[in-house]
């Protein structure tokens, strides 16, 4: 189980630029599915990078089960936005997914792959999460295993990325706009998969532009616009909507 706590995070990309994040605090309990919503430029991707340890906050700190993030970085995996990948690279889907297992970090927790021990149902597909085939089968890309990445549709590429992230030993998964290019059925299917992962004890933070009914699929919602505007259950957030200054969200048709 992994409790993620981020306290008073502030971050600027350079000394001259305005802060991308200002005093952001979030707490993620094990086995929860959290939506991170906000307009473009709200700092969602920036926050996910800080939580993954790719960038370091100017102020504030991040801990997992009370330990500093630097010492337990392998417990967090980030699924990047589709646009950050080089999809024309000559590689098959199977090879891409297998890269999720690759760890070159010298962190002490590299081998702390505990998904199996988190299982509540031994017959569940996740029992074979560490196996390439089972992972690809669950996200529906097994038949595409030998296809090159540039022959996949946007939705298929997104599922391949999810499979790659699932191959990592991490217990906290950060998914950066994974539903961005999925059609409604694929999106529902995706949310079912992440729900299963949360149910077995993994913590997931999913950044999203979806401000609609699909928020009900999450346990917790964090509304971000440089700082945390609101956080809580989907119902409590909806009731607070009138009080939250989300003009920028509405301007962007969320």
């Amino acid at each position: 189980m992994a409790n993620l706590v981020a306290e008073n995070l502030s971050y600027s990309y350079s000394k001259r630029s305005k802060p991308a994040l200002n005093k952001v605090s979030v707490a993620i309990k094990p086995g929860t599915l959290t939506a991170l919503v906000g307009p473009n430029g709200a700092g969602k991707s920036t926050l996910l990078r800080l939580l993954q340890g790719q960038n370091f906050p100017d102020k504030g700190y991040i801990t997992i089960d009370g330990k500093k993030l630097r010492s337990v970085r392998s417990q967090v995996a980030l699924m990047p936005q589709r646009s950050s990948m080089n999809w024309r690279f000559p590689i098959t889907v199977e090879k891409l997914v297998s890269l999720g297992q690759v760890k070159y970090s010298k962190s002490k927790n590299i081998n702390s792959f505990q998904i199996k021990s988190l299982l509540v149902n031994p017959n569940s597909w996740i029992n074979k999460c560490c196996e390439l085939e089972a992972t690809m089968q669950r996200v529906g890309i097994l038949k595409l295993a030998n296809r090159r990445l540039d022959t996949l549709s946007g939705g298929q590429q997104q599922r391949a990325l999810l499979a790659k992230t699932l191959m990592s030993p991490a217990r906290i998964l950060l998914l950066d706009e994974p539903c961005a290019s999925l059609d409604p059925p694929a999106k529902d299917d995706f949310l079912k998969i992440v729900r299963q992962l949360a149910d077995i004890g993994l913590s997931l933070i999913v950044s999203s532009h979806d401000w609609g009914s699909s928020l009900n699929s999450y346990d917790q919602v964090v509304v971000l616009d440089k700082t945390v505007l609101a956080s809580g259950t989907p119902d409590s957030i909806k009731s607070k909507l009138d009080d939250i200054n989300i003009s920028s969200i509405n301007d962007n048709n969320y």
Partner: protein
Amino acid sequence: MTFINNWWLIPLIITIFSGILCPAMGTVLITHRRLLQVNLISHCVLPGLALALALGIHPSIGGVISGLLGSVIAESLTNKKSENYEAVMNTILAGMLGFGVLLIPLLGIRIDLEAVLFGDLLTANLSDLLRTFIAFLTFILLITFGYEKVVYVGLDPEGASASGINVSLLNLALSFTTALVIVSSMSAVGVILVIALLSTPTLLGLYKAQSLRIAMMKSSFFGLCISLLGFILSIVFNLSPGPAISVICVASLVIPKLSEYFKTFFKA
């Protein structure tokens, strides 16, 4: 000393190794979206060559250092999002080439600029052959020990960095190997025309390749065919091998397109 007396043997071996090495290196660079760096490094070797000659060092060492320096300067002046990389690269490229041209008369040295820029394969000697072997060996070592990392960084630089790969160090190793390959190709095709040998076979080799390794092997096969054809034509028709290889590179891209066009035209 039959080996030395056969004047065509060293140029032939260099042709074979350059024909295999350049396209393989080009495949890595194209898939890493770093092919523009070849342009940069190839133009940056001149000041190093001139300085090395003036100081009495082997010109190849100066060329590699100078090429690498140009690449490092360009990367350090580029912003984080690489938005200004092309403009910075072209500035450094022009500046270093100009600096090299200025150095030659200032240092009072003699360099056969035509041979450096466009190659003089048929006069290649054992020193050129050794240079080619060193570049070949360096590339083999890079791929043998760093293949997985090269794949990961080319596919997903952020993910590779997050998984603990030192992306900057790998990029530096790629720049160093690229500089070595370019300098080693000086005698075969020259530092300018090497761009064709790094790019064209790669475009052919990448087609439908299922992995970087297969793409490199296919590119090297096409590169070898092109180089050998250029070598033979330059001997038979008394041509300069570097430009001949470059023209064949262009033809190998244009001819299939033209034949496709004519097939469609006559079918219609």
